[in-house]
Symmetry: C2
Subunit: 86 residues, 2 copies
Amino acid sequence: MGWTEILGLAAGAFTTAAVVPQIWKAWKTKEVEDVSPGMFFVLITGLGLWIVYGVIQKDIPIMATNGLAFLLNSFMIFLIFRYREK
Amino acid sequence: MGWTEILGLAAGAFTTAAVVPQIWKAWKTKEVEDVSPGMFFVLITGLGLWIVYGVIQKDIPIMATNGLAFLLNSFMIFLIFRYREK
């Protein structure tokens, strides 16, 4: 594996993991009022399209990183609806 | 341009634009208490790595979409620090 591939994997790891601190914060505080549900709906729409793109291109890293990001961000949407004030 | 390329561009457009509803919400409400700054710092780190990856690969779409996402998410970080409670 070359340096460029390692760089791409590191980039993917960071953009995929980004939602984890937000999940952690929502989980701890149970407060999500200022978080935009729209952000996460647009995001999982895009991630879903990336998964389809990865399947068509038979590109495992694109499928894997976007698949994981899709699951993590879907869980954040679940937390938003669980904790939002009625 | 083939359908696969159009799909990739659509996917990139959605994941790049995702932060816009969050920027809009923060701008309107001036409330960012429940938003995780960590999420946006991890995200722009990853986006910065994607930009370097795009430069090395001479891949204009990767540079352009991640460059735009980097600017939008940096602006969101600015809003978080502007509006957070002291």
